[in-house]
Amino acid sequence: MSQVDYPRQVKELILHLKKLPGIGPRGAERIAIWLLQQDGGVAQSFAATVEKARGEVWECGVCGFFSTEQGCPICDGSGRDETVLCVVEQPTDILPLERSGAFRGHYHALRGKISPLDNVGPDDLRIGELMDRLKKGAFEEVILALGADVEGEATSNYLVEVLENEGLKITRLAMGIPVGGGLESADELTLFRAVQGRTALGRGGS
Protein backbone atom coordinates (compact mmCIF):
# COMPACT_ATOMS: atom_id res chain seq x y z
CA MET A 1 0.00 0.00 0.00
CA SER A 2 1.46 3.36 -0.96
CA GLN A 3 1.68 6.13 1.60
CA VAL A 4 -1.11 8.71 1.51
CA ASP A 5 -0.05 12.34 1.08
CA TYR A 6 -1.78 15.63 0.16
CA PRO A 7 -2.96 15.87 -3.46
CA ARG A 8 -0.50 17.41 -5.89
CA GLN A 9 -2.38 20.76 -5.96
CA VAL A 10 -2.08 21.15 -2.20
CA LYS A 11 1.60 20.28 -2.25
CA GLU A 12 2.19 22.91 -4.93
CA LEU A 13 0.41 25.53 -2.86
CA ILE A 14 2.56 24.66 0.17
CA LEU A 15 5.67 24.85 -1.98
CA HIS A 16 4.80 28.38 -3.09
CA LEU A 17 3.90 29.59 0.38
CA LYS A 18 7.18 28.25 1.72
CA LYS A 19 9.02 30.71 -0.52
CA LEU A 20 7.47 33.68 1.31
CA PRO A 21 9.82 35.47 3.70
CA GLY A 22 9.54 34.28 7.29
CA ILE A 23 7.41 31.24 6.47
CA GLY A 24 8.76 27.78 7.28
CA PRO A 25 7.43 24.40 6.11
CA ARG A 26 5.01 24.05 9.04
CA GLY A 27 3.63 27.57 8.63
CA ALA A 28 3.23 27.05 4.88
CA GLU A 29 1.22 23.91 5.49
CA ARG A 30 -1.02 25.67 8.04
CA ILE A 31 -1.74 28.59 5.70
CA ALA A 32 -2.44 26.31 2.74
CA ILE A 33 -4.95 24.23 4.68
CA TRP A 34 -6.56 27.36 6.10
CA LEU A 35 -7.01 28.84 2.61
CA LEU A 36 -8.55 25.61 1.33
CA GLN A 37 -11.00 25.38 4.21
CA GLN A 38 -12.41 28.93 3.91
CA ASP A 39 -15.86 29.43 2.41
CA GLY A 40 -17.33 32.48 0.71
CA GLY A 41 -14.59 33.08 -1.85
CA VAL A 42 -11.93 34.10 0.68
CA ALA A 43 -9.18 32.30 -1.23
CA GLN A 44 -10.35 33.64 -4.62
CA SER A 45 -10.45 37.20 -3.34
CA PHE A 46 -7.02 36.75 -1.78
CA ALA A 47 -5.62 35.59 -5.13
CA ALA A 48 -7.32 38.47 -6.94
CA THR A 49 -5.90 41.00 -4.45
CA VAL A 50 -2.38 39.71 -4.97
CA GLU A 51 -2.78 39.86 -8.74
CA LYS A 52 -4.23 43.36 -8.67
CA ALA A 53 -1.56 44.74 -6.36
CA ARG A 54 1.20 43.21 -8.45
CA GLY A 55 -0.31 44.60 -11.66
CA GLU A 56 -1.08 48.09 -10.45
CA VAL A 57 1.89 48.92 -8.23
CA TRP A 58 5.47 49.29 -9.41
CA GLU A 59 8.73 50.78 -8.31
CA CYS A 60 9.01 54.51 -8.96
CA GLY A 61 11.89 54.90 -11.38
CA VAL A 62 12.98 58.10 -9.66
CA CYS A 63 12.94 57.53 -5.89
CA GLY A 64 12.40 53.78 -5.68
CA PHE A 65 9.20 54.03 -3.61
CA PHE A 66 5.90 52.40 -4.66
CA SER A 67 4.12 54.07 -7.54
CA THR A 68 0.65 53.60 -9.10
CA GLU A 69 -1.33 55.05 -12.03
CA GLN A 70 -1.86 58.15 -9.89
CA GLY A 71 1.92 58.53 -9.81
CA CYS A 72 4.45 58.37 -6.99
CA PRO A 73 3.10 59.77 -3.69
CA ILE A 74 6.53 61.24 -3.01
CA CYS A 75 7.97 62.44 -6.31
CA ASP A 76 4.61 63.71 -7.61
CA GLY A 77 3.44 65.16 -4.30
CA SER A 78 3.57 68.90 -3.81
CA GLY A 79 5.10 71.07 -1.13
CA ARG A 80 8.36 69.17 -0.83
CA ASP A 81 11.73 70.84 -0.38
CA GLU A 82 13.39 70.47 -3.79
CA THR A 83 16.87 71.15 -2.43
CA VAL A 84 17.27 68.23 -0.01
CA LEU A 85 17.61 64.56 -0.90
CA CYS A 86 17.57 61.80 1.68
CA VAL A 87 19.27 58.51 0.71
CA VAL A 88 17.94 55.32 2.32
CA GLU A 89 18.63 51.60 1.85
CA GLN A 90 15.10 50.33 1.17
CA PRO A 91 11.86 51.96 0.07
CA THR A 92 10.39 50.71 3.36
CA ASP A 93 12.81 53.03 5.21
CA ILE A 94 10.97 56.03 3.76
CA LEU A 95 7.77 55.61 5.75
CA PRO A 96 9.24 55.87 9.28
CA LEU A 97 11.00 59.08 8.24
CA GLU A 98 7.77 60.43 6.72
CA ARG A 99 5.74 59.55 9.80
CA SER A 100 8.22 61.31 12.05
CA GLY A 101 7.43 64.52 10.16
CA ALA A 102 11.04 65.60 10.64
CA PHE A 103 11.88 65.62 6.96
CA ARG A 104 9.97 67.11 4.01
CA GLY A 105 12.43 66.75 1.16
CA HIS A 106 12.87 64.07 -1.50
CA TYR A 107 14.04 60.49 -1.13
CA HIS A 108 16.25 58.03 -2.96
CA ALA A 109 16.15 54.32 -2.09
CA LEU A 110 19.30 52.40 -3.07
CA ARG A 111 17.59 49.01 -2.91
CA GLY A 112 20.30 47.55 -0.67
CA LYS A 113 23.79 48.24 0.59
CA ILE A 114 27.29 47.41 -0.54
CA SER A 115 28.36 44.03 0.81
CA PRO A 116 31.23 42.38 -1.03
CA LEU A 117 30.99 39.22 1.08
CA ASP A 118 27.41 38.80 -0.20
CA ASN A 119 28.46 39.72 -3.72
CA VAL A 120 26.69 43.09 -3.76
CA GLY A 121 28.71 45.93 -5.27
CA PRO A 122 27.90 49.57 -6.11
CA ASP A 123 26.71 48.56 -9.59
CA ASP A 124 23.98 46.40 -8.08
CA LEU A 125 22.47 49.42 -6.31
CA ARG A 126 20.69 52.52 -7.61
CA ILE A 127 23.82 54.63 -7.26
CA GLY A 128 24.04 55.56 -10.96
CA GLU A 129 20.43 56.84 -10.78
CA LEU A 130 21.39 58.82 -7.69
CA MET A 131 24.28 60.53 -9.49
CA ASP A 132 22.01 61.40 -12.45
CA ARG A 133 19.41 62.92 -10.16
CA LEU A 134 21.97 65.02 -8.35
CA LYS A 135 23.41 66.31 -11.65
CA LYS A 136 20.03 67.26 -13.09
CA GLY A 137 18.14 68.39 -10.00
CA ALA A 138 18.31 71.48 -7.84
CA PHE A 139 19.62 69.62 -4.81
CA GLU A 140 21.95 71.40 -2.42
CA GLU A 141 22.14 68.85 0.38
CA VAL A 142 22.29 65.04 0.51
CA ILE A 143 21.37 63.33 3.78
CA LEU A 144 22.71 59.80 4.18
CA ALA A 145 20.23 57.81 6.28
CA LEU A 146 21.68 54.31 5.94
CA GLY A 147 21.94 51.64 8.61
CA ALA A 148 24.58 51.76 11.33
CA ASP A 149 25.87 48.22 10.72
CA VAL A 150 29.19 47.57 8.96
CA GLU A 151 27.61 47.38 5.48
CA GLY A 152 25.44 50.49 5.99
CA GLU A 153 28.44 52.45 7.24
CA ALA A 154 30.64 51.27 4.39
CA THR A 155 27.98 52.31 1.88
CA SER A 156 27.78 55.76 3.51
CA ASN A 157 31.56 56.11 3.38
CA TYR A 158 31.57 55.07 -0.27
CA LEU A 159 28.88 57.62 -1.17
CA VAL A 160 30.76 60.38 0.65
CA GLU A 161 33.78 59.52 -1.47
CA VAL A 162 32.01 59.47 -4.86
CA LEU A 163 29.89 62.57 -4.08
CA GLU A 164 32.86 64.56 -2.85
CA ASN A 165 33.31 66.64 -5.98
CA GLU A 166 29.65 67.32 -6.73
CA GLY A 167 29.62 70.59 -4.81
CA LEU A 168 26.91 69.41 -2.43
CA LYS A 169 26.55 69.57 1.29
CA ILE A 170 26.67 65.97 2.56
CA THR A 171 25.29 65.09 5.98
CA ARG A 172 24.41 61.92 7.77
CA LEU A 173 21.86 61.23 10.47
CA ALA A 174 23.21 62.02 13.92
CA MET A 175 23.90 58.91 15.98
CA GLY A 176 22.93 59.02 19.56
CA ILE A 177 21.38 57.59 22.64
CA PRO A 178 17.95 56.08 21.99
CA VAL A 179 15.08 57.92 23.61
CA GLY A 180 14.32 56.25 26.94
CA GLY A 181 17.72 54.52 26.92
CA GLY A 182 20.32 55.03 29.58
CA LEU A 183 23.96 55.91 28.90
CA GLU A 184 25.14 52.64 30.43
CA SER A 185 23.55 50.61 27.65
CA ALA A 186 25.19 52.57 24.82
CA ASP A 187 28.42 51.25 23.34
CA GLU A 188 31.54 53.35 23.11
CA LEU A 189 31.35 54.29 19.45
CA THR A 190 27.72 55.38 19.83
CA LEU A 191 28.67 57.56 22.78
CA PHE A 192 31.70 58.92 20.94
CA ARG A 193 29.55 59.96 17.98
CA ALA A 194 26.78 61.26 20.20
CA VAL A 195 29.31 63.56 21.87
CA GLN A 196 30.77 64.62 18.51
CA GLY A 197 27.34 65.41 17.15
CA ARG A 198 26.05 67.09 20.30
CA THR A 199 23.64 70.03 20.08
CA ALA A 200 24.00 73.38 21.80
CA LEU A 201 21.39 74.33 24.37
CA GLY A 202 20.98 77.85 25.74
CA ARG A 203 23.21 80.76 24.79
CA GLY A 204 26.17 80.37 27.09
CA GLY A 205 29.59 81.00 25.58
CA SER A 206 28.34 82.98 22.58
Partner: protein
Protein backbone atom coordinates in the same frame (compact mmCIF):
# COMPACT_ATOMS: atom_id res chain seq x y z
CA UNK B 1 29.77 39.59 45.53
CA UNK B 2 30.23 35.99 44.57
CA UNK B 3 27.63 34.52 42.31
CA UNK B 4 27.75 30.82 41.56
CA UNK B 5 26.85 28.60 38.71
CA UNK B 6 24.63 26.15 40.58
CA UNK B 7 23.36 24.05 37.71
CA UNK B 8 24.30 23.16 34.16
CA UNK B 9 22.16 21.51 31.48
CA UNK B 10 23.46 20.40 28.10
CA UNK B 11 21.61 19.06 25.10
CA UNK B 12 23.40 17.73 22.03
CA UNK B 13 26.55 19.59 23.02
CA UNK B 14 29.77 17.85 21.85
CA UNK B 15 29.63 14.26 23.14
CA UNK B 16 26.71 14.91 25.53
CA UNK B 17 23.28 13.93 24.32
CA UNK B 18 21.78 15.20 27.54
CA UNK B 19 23.47 16.17 30.79
CA UNK B 20 22.26 17.74 34.03
CA UNK B 21 24.69 18.75 36.75
CA UNK B 22 24.28 20.38 40.12
CA UNK B 23 27.34 22.41 41.03
CA UNK B 24 28.45 23.78 44.34
CA UNK B 25 30.81 26.48 45.54
CA UNK B 26 34.53 25.87 45.87
CA UNK B 27 36.22 23.20 43.81
CA UNK B 28 34.57 20.74 41.45
CA UNK B 29 36.90 18.09 40.07
CA UNK B 30 36.02 16.29 36.83
CA UNK B 31 38.09 13.14 36.63
CA UNK B 32 38.36 10.83 33.65
CA UNK B 33 40.54 9.53 30.86
CA UNK B 34 41.14 11.59 27.75
CA UNK B 35 38.35 12.08 25.20
CA UNK B 36 35.55 11.25 27.65
CA UNK B 37 34.02 14.73 27.65
CA UNK B 38 35.67 16.47 30.61
CA UNK B 39 36.86 19.47 28.68
CA UNK B 40 33.50 19.80 26.92
CA UNK B 41 31.87 20.46 30.30
CA UNK B 42 34.19 23.41 30.92
CA UNK B 43 33.69 24.54 27.35
CA UNK B 44 29.90 24.48 27.84
CA UNK B 45 30.24 26.66 30.94
CA UNK B 46 32.31 29.14 28.92
CA UNK B 47 29.75 29.12 26.10
CA UNK B 48 26.88 29.60 28.57
CA UNK B 49 28.49 32.46 30.46
CA UNK B 50 30.36 34.21 27.64
CA UNK B 51 28.72 33.00 24.41
CA UNK B 52 32.05 31.89 23.01
CA UNK B 53 34.29 28.89 23.19
CA UNK B 54 38.05 28.80 23.69
CA UNK B 55 38.19 25.71 21.47
CA UNK B 56 35.95 26.71 18.56
CA UNK B 57 35.86 29.75 16.33
CA UNK B 58 32.11 29.37 15.75
CA UNK B 59 29.44 28.07 18.12
CA UNK B 60 28.17 25.68 15.46
CA UNK B 61 31.32 23.58 15.84
CA UNK B 62 30.16 22.43 19.28
CA UNK B 63 26.99 20.74 18.02
CA UNK B 64 26.96 16.99 18.71
CA UNK B 65 28.06 14.91 15.76
CA UNK B 66 25.13 14.11 13.47
CA UNK B 67 22.89 16.79 15.02
CA UNK B 68 22.07 20.33 13.87
CA UNK B 69 21.34 22.17 17.08
CA UNK B 70 22.36 22.33 20.72
CA UNK B 71 21.19 23.98 23.92
CA UNK B 72 23.09 25.03 27.04
CA UNK B 73 21.35 26.31 30.15
CA UNK B 74 22.14 26.95 33.78
CA UNK B 75 21.47 28.96 36.90
CA UNK B 76 24.03 31.64 37.57
CA UNK B 77 23.45 33.75 40.69
CA UNK B 78 19.80 34.78 40.54
CA UNK B 79 19.48 34.36 36.79
CA UNK B 80 18.48 31.42 34.68
CA UNK B 81 20.55 31.60 31.51
CA UNK B 82 19.75 29.73 28.33
CA UNK B 83 21.39 29.57 24.92
CA UNK B 84 19.79 27.68 22.08
CA UNK B 85 21.67 27.22 18.86
CA UNK B 86 19.74 26.21 15.75
CA UNK B 87 20.39 26.33 12.02
CA UNK B 88 18.49 29.64 11.87
CA UNK B 89 20.65 31.29 14.52
CA UNK B 90 21.02 31.46 18.27
CA UNK B 91 18.40 32.35 20.84
CA UNK B 92 19.32 33.80 24.20
CA UNK B 93 17.11 34.07 27.24
CA UNK B 94 17.42 35.24 30.83
CA UNK B 95 14.77 34.01 33.25
CA UNK B 96 12.70 32.80 30.32
CA UNK B 97 12.73 36.20 28.65
CA UNK B 98 14.24 36.35 25.17
CA UNK B 99 17.23 38.69 24.86
CA UNK B 100 17.76 40.26 21.47
CA UNK B 101 21.11 41.79 22.27
CA UNK B 102 23.96 39.67 23.56
CA UNK B 103 25.02 42.65 25.68
CA UNK B 104 21.84 42.38 27.74
CA UNK B 105 22.34 38.65 28.21
CA UNK B 106 25.96 39.07 29.24
CA UNK B 107 25.06 41.67 31.85
CA UNK B 108 23.15 38.96 33.73
CA UNK B 109 25.98 36.50 33.24
CA UNK B 110 29.33 36.04 34.96
CA UNK B 111 33.04 36.40 34.30
CA UNK B 112 35.26 33.56 33.16
CA UNK B 113 38.96 32.78 33.24
CA UNK B 114 40.14 29.80 31.21
CA UNK B 115 43.40 28.04 32.09
CA UNK B 116 44.56 25.24 29.84
CA UNK B 117 47.66 23.23 29.13
CA UNK B 118 48.17 25.14 25.90
CA UNK B 119 48.61 28.42 27.80
CA UNK B 120 52.33 28.13 27.18
CA UNK B 121 51.50 29.22 23.62
CA UNK B 122 50.78 32.66 25.09
CA UNK B 123 54.52 32.92 25.60
CA UNK B 124 55.92 30.82 22.77
CA UNK B 125 53.27 31.04 20.07
CA UNK B 126 52.33 33.75 17.60
CA UNK B 127 50.53 37.00 18.25
CA UNK B 128 47.10 35.57 17.50
CA UNK B 129 46.90 33.72 20.81
CA UNK B 130 47.92 36.81 22.76
CA UNK B 131 45.37 38.95 20.91
CA UNK B 132 42.70 36.38 21.76
CA UNK B 133 43.78 36.55 25.42
CA UNK B 134 43.41 40.34 25.39
CA UNK B 135 40.13 40.31 23.47
CA UNK B 136 38.56 37.69 25.73
CA UNK B 137 39.45 39.81 28.75
CA UNK B 138 38.49 43.18 27.29
CA UNK B 139 35.18 41.76 26.09
CA UNK B 140 34.32 40.93 29.68
CA UNK B 141 35.50 44.20 31.18
CA UNK B 142 34.39 46.88 28.75
CA UNK B 143 30.83 47.09 27.41
CA UNK B 144 30.92 47.73 23.69
CA UNK B 145 34.27 46.01 23.13
CA UNK B 146 32.68 42.92 21.63
CA UNK B 147 30.56 45.06 19.31
CA UNK B 148 33.62 46.98 18.13
CA UNK B 149 35.58 43.75 17.66
CA UNK B 150 32.83 42.09 15.63
CA UNK B 151 32.42 45.19 13.44
CA UNK B 152 36.19 45.44 12.99
CA UNK B 153 36.49 41.79 11.98
CA UNK B 154 33.63 42.04 9.48
CA UNK B 155 35.07 45.21 7.94
CA UNK B 156 38.50 43.55 7.77
CA UNK B 157 37.10 40.46 6.04
CA UNK B 158 35.32 42.65 3.49
CA UNK B 159 38.40 44.77 2.88
CA UNK B 160 40.70 41.78 2.42
CA UNK B 161 38.15 40.18 0.12
CA UNK B 162 38.10 43.31 -2.07
CA UNK B 163 41.91 43.50 -2.11
CA UNK B 164 42.10 39.92 -3.37
CA UNK B 165 39.13 39.95 -5.74
CA UNK B 166 40.07 42.36 -8.51
CA UNK B 167 43.19 42.63 -10.60
CA UNK B 168 42.96 46.39 -10.20
CA UNK B 169 41.56 46.88 -6.72
CA UNK B 170 38.45 49.05 -6.35
CA UNK B 171 40.04 51.58 -4.00
CA UNK B 172 36.95 53.76 -3.40
CA UNK B 173 35.17 50.67 -2.07
CA UNK B 174 38.22 49.50 -0.13
CA UNK B 175 38.63 52.89 1.49
CA UNK B 176 35.00 52.82 2.60
CA UNK B 177 36.18 50.01 4.88
CA UNK B 178 39.46 51.68 5.81
CA UNK B 179 37.49 54.32 7.68
CA UNK B 180 35.56 51.63 9.57
CA UNK B 181 38.78 49.84 10.51
CA UNK B 182 40.09 53.12 11.81
CA UNK B 183 36.99 53.92 13.88
CA UNK B 184 36.39 50.52 15.43
CA UNK B 185 40.12 49.81 15.63
CA UNK B 186 40.60 52.94 17.74
CA UNK B 187 38.23 51.48 20.35
CA UNK B 188 40.14 48.18 20.34
CA UNK B 189 43.57 49.76 20.63
CA UNK B 190 42.61 52.17 23.39
CA UNK B 191 40.97 49.47 25.48
CA UNK B 192 43.76 46.95 24.99
CA UNK B 193 46.29 49.52 26.13
CA UNK B 194 44.24 50.40 29.18
CA UNK B 195 43.82 46.72 29.95
CA UNK B 196 47.55 46.00 29.78
CA UNK B 197 48.33 48.93 32.03
CA UNK B 198 45.86 47.65 34.63
CA UNK B 199 47.03 44.05 34.27
CA UNK B 200 50.72 44.80 34.73
CA UNK B 201 50.85 45.06 38.57
CA UNK B 202 48.82 41.85 38.96
CA UNK B 203 51.10 40.01 36.54
CA UNK B 204 54.16 41.13 38.49
CA UNK B 205 52.61 40.00 41.75
CA UNK B 206 51.48 36.63 40.36
CA UNK B 207 54.89 35.90 38.85
CA UNK B 208 56.52 36.39 42.25
CA UNK B 209 53.89 34.29 44.01
CA UNK B 210 54.27 31.35 41.64
CA UNK B 211 58.05 31.41 41.30
CA UNK B 212 58.59 32.21 44.96
CA UNK B 213 61.24 34.73 43.89
CA UNK B 214 61.31 38.48 44.29
CA UNK B 215 63.68 39.17 41.41
CA UNK B 216 61.58 38.17 38.38
CA UNK B 217 60.45 41.44 36.89
CA UNK B 218 57.63 40.93 34.38
CA UNK B 219 56.79 43.64 31.87
CA UNK B 220 53.82 43.83 29.51
CA UNK B 221 53.83 46.17 26.54
CA UNK B 222 51.40 46.78 23.72
CA UNK B 223 53.02 46.90 20.30
CA UNK B 224 51.36 48.16 17.14
CA UNK B 225 52.19 45.77 14.33
CA UNK B 226 53.11 48.50 11.93
CA UNK B 227 56.63 49.50 11.03
CA UNK B 228 55.61 52.69 9.29
CA UNK B 229 57.32 56.01 9.77
CA UNK B 230 57.39 57.22 13.36
CA UNK B 231 55.62 60.41 12.36
CA UNK B 232 52.34 58.51 12.03
CA UNK B 233 52.52 57.25 15.58
CA UNK B 234 50.74 59.34 18.16
CA UNK B 235 50.47 59.01 21.89
CA UNK B 236 47.37 56.87 21.69
CA UNK B 237 48.52 54.65 18.87
CA UNK B 238 48.71 55.52 15.24
CA UNK B 239 46.55 56.95 12.53
CA UNK B 240 45.56 53.71 10.82
CA UNK B 241 44.06 55.44 7.78
CA UNK B 242 47.33 57.32 7.21
CA UNK B 243 49.43 54.19 7.76
CA UNK B 244 47.40 52.22 5.22
CA UNK B 245 47.60 55.08 2.75
CA UNK B 246 51.37 55.13 3.10
CA UNK B 247 51.59 51.35 2.61
CA UNK B 248 49.23 51.11 -0.35
CA UNK B 249 51.94 49.66 -2.62
CA UNK B 250 52.54 46.89 -0.12
CA UNK B 251 48.82 46.15 0.15
CA UNK B 252 48.64 45.92 -3.63
CA UNK B 253 51.51 43.44 -3.61
CA UNK B 254 50.36 41.31 -0.69
CA UNK B 255 46.62 41.66 -1.31
CA UNK B 256 45.75 42.03 2.34
CA UNK B 257 45.35 44.66 5.05
CA UNK B 258 48.88 45.12 6.33
CA UNK B 259 48.32 47.07 9.56
CA UNK B 260 45.74 47.45 12.30
CA UNK B 261 44.79 45.90 15.64
CA UNK B 262 44.64 42.48 13.99
CA UNK B 263 48.41 42.65 13.67
CA UNK B 264 49.19 44.24 17.03
CA UNK B 265 50.80 42.21 19.76
CA UNK B 266 51.41 41.97 23.47
CA UNK B 267 55.14 41.92 24.20
CA UNK B 268 56.12 39.94 27.27
CA UNK B 269 59.46 40.25 28.95
CA UNK B 270 61.27 39.03 32.02
CA UNK B 271 64.01 41.14 33.55
CA UNK B 272 64.11 43.29 30.45
CA UNK B 273 64.45 40.41 27.94
CA UNK B 274 61.72 38.88 25.76
CA UNK B 275 60.42 35.84 27.66
CA UNK B 276 59.93 33.73 24.55
CA UNK B 277 63.60 33.97 23.57
CA UNK B 278 65.58 34.29 26.75
CA UNK B 279 63.68 32.75 29.66
CA UNK B 280 63.96 29.14 30.79
CA UNK B 281 61.06 26.79 30.16
CA UNK B 282 60.20 26.91 33.85
CA UNK B 283 60.07 30.70 33.82
CA UNK B 284 57.92 30.60 30.69
CA UNK B 285 55.43 28.23 32.32
CA UNK B 286 55.34 30.44 35.36
CA UNK B 287 54.62 33.51 33.28
CA UNK B 288 51.82 31.82 31.33
CA UNK B 289 50.17 30.84 34.59
CA UNK B 290 50.81 34.29 36.05
CA UNK B 291 49.00 35.94 33.14
CA UNK B 292 45.87 33.89 33.82
CA UNK B 293 46.08 34.43 37.54
CA UNK B 294 46.51 38.15 36.95
CA UNK B 295 43.38 38.05 34.80
CA UNK B 296 41.31 36.64 37.64
CA UNK B 297 42.66 39.12 40.17
CA UNK B 298 42.03 42.03 37.80
CA UNK B 299 38.43 40.86 37.21
CA UNK B 300 37.86 40.71 40.93
CA UNK B 301 39.32 44.19 41.42
CA UNK B 302 37.55 45.90 38.50
CA UNK B 303 34.18 44.19 38.59
CA UNK B 304 34.06 43.36 42.30
CA UNK B 305 32.94 39.94 41.21
CA UNK B 306 34.94 36.73 41.35
CA UNK B 307 35.29 34.99 37.98
CA UNK B 308 34.52 31.32 37.48
CA UNK B 309 37.86 29.57 36.93
CA UNK B 310 37.80 26.88 34.27
CA UNK B 311 41.01 24.92 34.66
CA UNK B 312 41.53 22.33 31.97
CA UNK B 313 43.96 19.50 32.50
CA UNK B 314 46.86 21.45 33.97
CA UNK B 315 46.89 20.12 37.52
CA UNK B 316 48.42 16.77 36.69
CA UNK B 317 51.18 18.52 34.73
CA UNK B 318 52.16 21.23 37.19
CA UNK B 319 54.98 20.56 39.62
CA UNK B 320 53.91 20.64 43.29
CA UNK B 321 55.42 24.05 43.92
CA UNK B 322 53.53 25.80 41.11
CA UNK B 323 50.38 23.87 41.91
CA UNK B 324 50.45 24.95 45.55
CA UNK B 325 51.30 28.51 44.59
CA UNK B 326 48.34 28.62 42.23
CA UNK B 327 45.98 27.31 44.88
CA UNK B 328 47.32 29.89 47.34
CA UNK B 329 46.97 32.77 44.93
CA UNK B 330 43.70 32.20 43.09
CA UNK B 331 40.75 34.24 44.34
CA UNK B 332 39.29 32.43 47.31
CA UNK B 333 35.74 33.49 46.32
CA UNK B 334 35.99 32.01 42.83
CA UNK B 335 34.14 28.87 41.87
CA UNK B 336 36.67 26.46 40.34
CA UNK B 337 35.89 23.77 37.81
CA UNK B 338 38.92 21.56 37.23
CA UNK B 339 39.46 18.65 34.85
CA UNK B 340 42.16 16.06 35.45
CA UNK B 341 43.02 12.54 34.35
CA UNK B 342 44.03 11.39 37.83
CA UNK B 343 43.92 12.52 41.45
CA UNK B 344 47.42 11.43 42.48
CA UNK B 345 48.36 15.05 43.03
CA UNK B 346 45.45 15.77 45.29
CA UNK B 347 46.26 16.65 48.87
CA UNK B 348 43.74 14.71 51.02
CA UNK B 349 42.90 17.88 52.90
CA UNK B 350 42.00 19.63 49.62
CA UNK B 351 40.17 16.55 48.51
CA UNK B 352 37.70 16.79 51.37
CA UNK B 353 36.72 20.31 50.34
CA UNK B 354 36.23 19.36 46.68
CA UNK B 355 33.35 17.66 44.90
CA UNK B 356 34.54 14.88 42.62
CA UNK B 357 32.71 13.88 39.43
CA UNK B 358 33.68 10.93 37.27
CA UNK B 359 33.37 11.50 33.54
CA UNK B 360 33.13 8.47 31.26
CA UNK B 361 31.92 8.27 27.65
CA UNK B 362 29.72 11.33 27.85
CA UNK B 363 28.23 10.42 31.24
CA UNK B 364 28.94 12.03 34.60
CA UNK B 365 28.61 10.35 37.96
CA UNK B 366 29.36 11.31 41.55
CA UNK B 367 31.26 8.40 43.03
Amino acid sequence: MSALLTSLKLNQFRCFTALRLELGEGISLFVGDNAQGKTSILEAVCVLLRLQSPRASALGETVQFGQREFAVAGDYGDSELRLQFTSSGRRLSVDGETQKRSGDYLRASGLVVWMGNDDLALIRGGGEGRRRYLDFMAGQLFPGYRTALKAYERALRSRNFLLKRDKTPAWPQIDAYTKLLYEHGAVLTARRRELIERLQPYAVEAQCQISGREDEAVALEYRCGSDSSEALHTETGYDLAAVLWERREEELRRRQTVAGPHRDDLLLSLNGMPTAKFASEGQQRTQALALKLAQSRLFLAMKERAPVLLIDDIFGELDPQRRNALMQAWPEESQKLITTTHLDWLDPEWGRAATVYEVRMGKVAKP
